[in-house]
């Protein structure tokens, strides 16, 4: 009781502090913890439309998952799309990003134009590419025919559907990677570059031994952001192929949605979603570890 005023101030501070963080806590509880908890609950029960009776079934949804060949197929498709898109988007993103950071004439216009694909809603992009890739009416096959090449079935062939999806995703998201990298380029100090020039380094050497190492933290952030999105590959696939033909483009996210909503099996859908969540966490952990080790 020696410093009543001080103590009073302290406890008022405490209330104020709680008040200030409480929206964040409420938000986290309502939007993150609760849905994950509920998904976990659903995955351990048998969900019956119209019934509010809970019937626990233990791990049987997860057991079913392990024996479901479409699940494993969609896991494979998800990983192929993830690795191929991430690799291409990173390489093209770095190249474009460095190009955009140079003060070229028309640079501002170019930057605005190449960002368009990342801004348009994915549903619209899906509809647009359905038309471009239509085997009979599409622009893509028209281009091939001008070049004297044979037309392709693109999305309608299990052998080419993934390549088509990769092309679309790279077209859509490389500019986004480029934007982050351009931002990074602009913050780099000019001294190391000048020093390298004085030391007689050529362009490749400057890129390899100066630009890339300095950009590494930015690139890792871009990769991390993109990876999480890529593992959850959904909208364009859902619009264009619904996982077809014959499950050749089924991603985990699409499969889970189909199971949950179209086949009205929320429990199994939730189990797949939890697996996807685990996958996302694992991948971001690996990338974060890599990032720490590099810096």
């Amino acid at each position: 009781m020696h410093h009543p005023r001080l103590r009073k101030a302290k406890s008022n501070d405490l209330i104020a502090a709680f008040l200030m963080v409480s929206p964040a806590i409420v938000f986290t509880l309502a939007m993150i913890i609760f849905p994950i908890g509920y998904a976990l609950f659903l995955s351990l029960t048998k969900w019956v439309p119209g019934s509010s009776v809970t019937q626990f079934v233990g791990l049987s949804n997860f057991r079913r998952m392990l024996g479901d060949h479409v699940f494993w197929l969609s896991f494979r498709v998800t990983m192929i799309l993830f690795i191929a898109c991430l690799l291409l988007e990173t390489i093209i993103g770095i190249y474009l990003g460095i190009l955009l950071s140079k003060d070229l004439p028309g640079q501002k216009v170019l930057q605005a134009v190449i960002l368009i694909p990342s801004i348009i809603a994915s549903v619209a992009i899906g509809m647009m590419w359905i038309q471009i890739l239509d085997p009979t009416l599409g622009f893509a096959n028209y281009l091939l025919s001008i070049g004297g090449l044979k037309p392709l079935a693109w999305l309608a062939n299990p052998g080419t559907v993934l390549q088509s999806l990769i092309i679309i995703d790279v077209w859509q998201w490389s500019p986004f990677m480029a934007l982050i990298i351009t931002g990074g380029m602009r913050t780099l100090p000019s001294e190391p570059f000048e020093a390298a020039l004085i030391d007689g380094a050529n362009k490749w050497q400057i890129f390899r031994f100066v630009t890339l190492p300095l950009l590494r933290p930015v690139i890792m952030v871009a990769i991390l952001l993109r990876s999480v999105d890529l593992v959850r590959f959904f909208d364009t696939v859902y619009i264009m192929t619904q996982g077809g033909p014959n499950n050749a483009s089924m991603t985990l996210n699409v499969y889970s949605y189909l199971q949950g909503f179209n086949y009205m099996d929320m429990s199994y859908g939730s189990a797949i979603m939890l697996f996807l969540l685990l996958l996302v966490i694992l991948i971001s952990l690996v990338i974060t570890k890599l990032r720490r080790r590099m810096s």
């Binding site: 405490l14 209330i15 409480s22 439309p49 009416l137 499950n247 179209n262 086949y263 009205m264 099996d265």
Partner: protein, 445 residues
């Protein structure tokens, strides 16, 4: 003292958090209350109608203010795309929420699952009550096929609003040029498609039909039924182990893979109608509703050259798939009488005639006999279209796919295996076996 204060601050923090949560979750109701708050009249009720973005919705929307004026019931029309509308209705009804009063529902897809779940209000009692349903509603005017399609396990769960079915749209000019008679049998249909490809030297494809797995059953069903097969035999076993099933798959896939456009395996109505409207195919097998898009002056190059006939008969006769959309009442609605008033108004003989004049195929026979409606079928295409639809309604089979609670999963199995045949990775026999096994497994789940 110190501890007490800490406790007090903790308690107040928790209280505030709880209040905040209540605020967040209560937001919806707050807005609704303030919306209704404007009117003090106790009789004014608001009902929510959940509709799909569908030609029927577009056609009826302008008349809704009339209904509001007549009855004093406010209609909150919520329009979503098909799958989103289905997701929304499933989630709302699963939560036993009174947020939806009337909703569009496709009985051939979710009907059995929703009925088992208890989502549908029984409409028989409203129809039978003379106070709720005056005689001028003319229940017996509804055609048997679509009206029975709204009955599940004996219970009336909806009222039909529009009828459709898969038909064959064809190019009259090409048929005349290549001297092709209108196909009378499924074999004729294959021959017609073949002739087009041969005589046009591959410039024009024979026929566009559905390949996208979840959508195949709708057009494939007629091929299956025309082999003389129902989806299930009298013991409730699936009929895909019969020779007719193999023949149906073979015919369908021959059309798609040999005489269809490349990539038919991914096509739905959207792609097929684009191909037909652009003059790239001589026939299109798809929903009768597609007439609107293939005669759209902005996109179509073939207006005035289009004819329509039913999918031809097979060895087992002709049993076209007929599909009706209906509106249903939620069992959890708190404005059931007002909801029924809306349903009755929207499906009255008068309104269905008005909608028919805007191109919505009516499930009431009086509409089709109406002179005003007949006069509206001016051009030859429209006349053939109407004749074909009447044929479908009289002979139709309302089961788009084998009825099951997991209907969509069943149709996916059928679609996937038909696609494998189109892609050449399975024979029709293997596909029939795989469907027999796969669908039986889904039904057991």
């Amino acid at each position: 003292m110190n501890n007490t204060k800490r406790t007090i601050s903790l308690v107040s923090t928790i209280t505030i958090m709880v209040l905040l949560m209540a605020l967040v979750s209560g937001c919806g109701q707050v807005t609704q209350a303030s919306l209704n708050g404007g009117k003090t009249n106790k009789q004014s009720e608001t009902i929510t109608v959940l509709a799909e973005k569908h030609p029927w919705t577009t056609a009826i929307q302008p008349y809704i203010p009339e209904f509001e004026k007549q009855t004093g019931i406010k209609v909150n029309l919520m329009i979503l795309s098909e799958q989103q509308q289905r997701d929304k209705s499933l989630m709302t009804l699963q939560a036993k929420s009174p947020d939806i009063d009337v909703f569009m529902s496709l009985k051939s897809l979710e009907g059995l699952a929703y009925e088992k779940a208890g989502f549908y209000e029984d409409l028989d009692k409203y129809i039978r009550d003379a106070k709720l349903t005056p005689a001028d509603y003319k229940v017996n005017d509804f055609m048997k096929g679509p009206f029975d399609g709204e009955r599940i396990e004996g219970k009336l769960v909806g009222i039909p609003i529009i009828v459709e079915g898969p038909v064959v749209f064809y190019r009259k000019d090409l048929f005349a040029q290549y001297n092709i008679p209108i196909p009378k049998t499924l074999n004729d249909l294959v021959r017609a498609a073949q002739t087009v490809e041969q005589k046009s030297k591959g410039r024009i494809y024979g026929v566009a039909l559905r390949g996208l797995a979840p959508a195949v059953s709708y057009t494939f069903g007629t091929f299956f039924h025309n082999m003389g097969l129902e989806w299930f035999d009298s013991n409730g076993n699936l009929n895909f182990n019969k020779p007719g099933a193999v023949k149906a798959i073979d015919t369908y896939c021959t059309l798609a893979a040999k005489y269809g456009p490349p990539g038919a395996v991914n096509n739905n109505f959207y792609q097929s109608s684009s191909l037909f409207a652009q003059g790239k195919v001589a026939m299109e097998i798809d929903a009768s509703n597609e007439l609107a898009s293939i005669t759209d002056p902005n996109n179509s190059k073939v207006i005035g050259k289009i004819g329509v006939f039913p999918i031809p008969a097979g060895p087992g006769g002709n049993h076209p798939t007929v599909l009706q959309w209906g509106i249903s009442m939620s069992a959890y609605s708190q404005h059931k009488d007002a909801a029924w008033e809306f349903i009755r108004w929207a499906t009255s003989p008068d309104m269905q005639l008005k909608l028919a004049l805007k191109g919505i195929a009516s499930p009431r026979s009086s509409t089709w006999e109406n002179t005003q409606f007949k006069a509206s079928l001016r051009d030859a295409t429209k006349k053939e279209w109407a004749k074909t639809l009447e044929f479908i309604m009289k002979n139709g089979n309302p089961e788009v796919g084998p009825p099951a609670i997991k209907e969509a999963a069943v149709r996916q199995v059928i679609g996937n295996n038909i696609d494998k045949v189109m892609l050449g990775s399975e024979t029709p026999q293997q596909a029939a076996d795989a469907i027999q096994q796969g669908v039986t497994e889904v039904i057991k789940q």
